[in-house]
């Protein structure tokens, strides 16, 4: 039953992505609505899948790589839809606003494909994870990662467009979206690090142990802090800022995946 909703989400993201592609290639903007519908259907199906997994497991589905990646992938389309409808979205040029949906669909497809590579077995929670902080800490962090993923994807679009259209006078609006996505991600990452520290103090008696996961999350935090300061105080825009978003997400990927497989520590479960 749960795999049905997983597959349905995958199919919906693919259909949405196809609709966006046809809308762009055939110059039929009306088809973009089908893309939005696919994105919304995929987000809803994945949400149902996570809720069912929660019910089957008897606990929040956030205890291993597969589950946490599903949460992050579920957050991406919801964030993309929210960004499209947010009040500040009016500042985006129409063609840049059109990018948010397809980026959400692409990340949805990639996220589900990656999640299927990890062990899907529902396993009991180990004692260290039996806390309400699990839900708070992991949820905040994964939604933050999803925002960073959108920022990096938009940054990649900005970089490619700048190479194709050197006089890209409308790229400024995409810069604004990258900045907004980064700020949302940065706020949530800050919340994730703080909730993790409070939980660590409650569980292990130390709010900071320079554990590899903790250290790399702080490295990621510093990278984005510097990027946001460069935007606000040094006027970084265009491809420079886009590369900062991409570099930041590289740090996110190492924090999320690299640390688990290359470095050992207290966090060696997700």
């Amino acid at each position: 039953m749960t795999s049905f909703w997983f597959n349905a989400a995958f199919a919906a993201f693919l259909i949405g992505l196809a609709a966006y592609a046809v809308a762009y290639l055939a110059a039929r903007p009306a088809l973009a609505r089908a893309g939005v519908a696919g994105l919304l259907a995929g987000a809803a199906a994945l949400t149902v899948h996570l809720l069912l997994r929660w019910q089957v497991a008897g606990r929040a589905p956030m205890s291993n790589m597969h589950e946490s990646l599903l949460v992050m992938t579920c957050a991406v389309p919801w964030l993309a839809l929210a960004f499209r409808r947010a009040p500040g979205a009016g500042h985006l040029a129409p063609q840049d606003r059109l990018w948010i949906g397809p980026l959400g669909a692409i990340l949805g497809v990639l996220g589900l494909a990656a999640a299927s590579l990890f062990d899907k077995t529902v396993t009991p929670l180990m004692p260290a994870l039996r806390s309400n902080w699990l839900l708070v800490h992991v949820l905040i962090t994964m939604i933050g990662y999803a925002a960073f993923a959108l920022a990096a994807a938009a940054g990649a679009v900005r970089i490619v467009r700048a190479r194709r259209y050197p006089d890209d006078s409308q790229g400024a609006s995409l810069d604004g979206f990258v900045y907004r996505a980064m700020t949302v991600g940065f706020l949530l990452l800050t919340g994730g690090i703080i909730t993790g520290a409070v939980w660590a103090n409650q569980a292990w008696g130390a709010y900071w142990s320079w554990d590899p996961k903790e250290t790399w999350s702080l490295i990621t935090w510093f990278v984005y802090l510097a990027g946001l300061h460069l935007y606000r105080t040094r006027g970084w825009r265009g491809t420079r800022f886009a590369w900062a978003a991409v570099a930041g997400f590289a740090a996110v990927l190492f924090t999320y995946v690299g640390v688990n497989y290359l470095l050992s520590g207290l966090h060696s479960y997700a």
Partner: protein, 330 residues
């Protein structure tokens, strides 16, 4: 208008308030942290003086920047940056308080035993009370699993099957039937009676008593931790036993805190459920898998925690004020 400070002081002040200084310090800190995680020999980098001086430099930069760039009027109009910067200073300051005045260590207790001296602490630490472990309990969930792998040395076949205590492995096609007579989770032989008994309910030495229809010695014991033990050389049937215990759900210690013979309090502490008494916190940290009567506790007294928590609150509130204002998102 001339500054009342010498030019050199003004220049130093501007340098300390410089955003470029922040970028440089951030880059150095990131490089140090990357090295600390990726290079095994550099793992102690976080305790070095030069790393501490980088953090101190960051604190000075933040303080001078906040003090210089933010006037009372600007703080009133946009309090977010100031609150966020103060939050970061509190976090760094709380870290200093923890490093200087905080104490942490470990207590390893056996059921019935008591201690007041914390081990693995950087300084000698005698607690103002004794900690006695009354009982240590491991709670498991799910079912344990047993698997037998049967190999016939002469006929060259191998079969594997999951079994339950009291069940039967029917290898009719091979002409062999194995009945599981008894499961003992922690097998020892009682010296007095010579009987096989279980020392505890924890699977420290899981063993199965089997009856094998075609074996010369029909009954035998197989041990999960000692494959091959109990197998007679003439018997062509070799049986390997794999045991997978039920998952640990929780482990907890029932402790009594005492001042001499006077009982101060009796409490239960478990993972994620610490006990705080007289400013000292005990955490259920671990246990000895080979001896389930031994509990390992972390002990901590850290006056820096409230300062750091205040910093966390300031940072979150400040950042929310900075970034969630509609104008700042435009």
């Amino acid at each position: 208008m001339r500054s009342r400070y010498p030019l050199s002081v003004a220049k130093l002040w501007r340098a300390l308030a410089s955003i470029n200084l922040f970028f440089a310090l951030a880059a150095l800190l990131v490089a140090a942290m990357v090295a600390g995680t990726l290079i095994p020999a550099a793992g102690g980098i976080y305790k070095t003086r030069w790393f501490a001086s980088l953090l101190a430099g960051l604190a000075v930069n933040i303080a001078v920047c906040a003090g210089t760039r933010m006037s009372r009027r600007s703080i009133g109009l946009r309090p977010g940056p100031f609150v966020a910067h103060v939050g970061m200073l509190l976090i760094l300051g709380g870290g200093v308080v923890s490093a200087v005045w905080g104490r942490r260590g470990e207590l390893t207790l056996r059921a019935g035993g008591s201690k007041c001296c914390v081990q693995k602490s950087s300084k000698d630490w005698h607690l103002p009370f004794h900690v006695r472990l009354d009982r240590f309990q491991i709670e498991r969930e799910g079912t344990e699993r047993h698997r037998l792998t049967v190999h016939h040395a002469k006929q060259g076949w191998t079969e594997s099957a999951e079994i339950v205590p009291g069940g039967t492995v029917d290898l009719a096609s091979r002409g062999v039937t194995i009945r599981v007579l008894r499961y003992v989770p922690d097998l020892i032989v009682d010296h007095g009676s010579g009987q096989v008994v279980s020392r505890s309910q924890e699977p420290r030495n899981p063993a199965l008593q089997l009856e094998v229809t075609t074996s010369p010695a029909r009954r035998r014991w197989v041990f999960a931790k000692y494959p091959g033990f109990g197998h007679e050389g003439a018997d062509p049937i070799e049986i390997t036993y794999e045991h997978k215990p039920a998952a640990v759900k929780q482990f907890a210690s029932a402790v009594t805190l005492m001042d001499g013979d006077r009982v101060l309090t009796q409490e239960r502490l478990a993972v994620n459920s610490p006990l705080t008494f007289q400013g000292i916190t005990l955490y259920q940290s671990g246990y000895d898998p080979d001896d389930p009567s031994v509990s390992i506790l972390q002990v901590s007294k850290d006056p820096g925690v409230p300062v750091v928590y205040a910093g966390f609150a300031g940072l979150l509130i400040g950042l929310s004020l900075v970034y969630l204002r509609p104008r700042s998102l435009a």
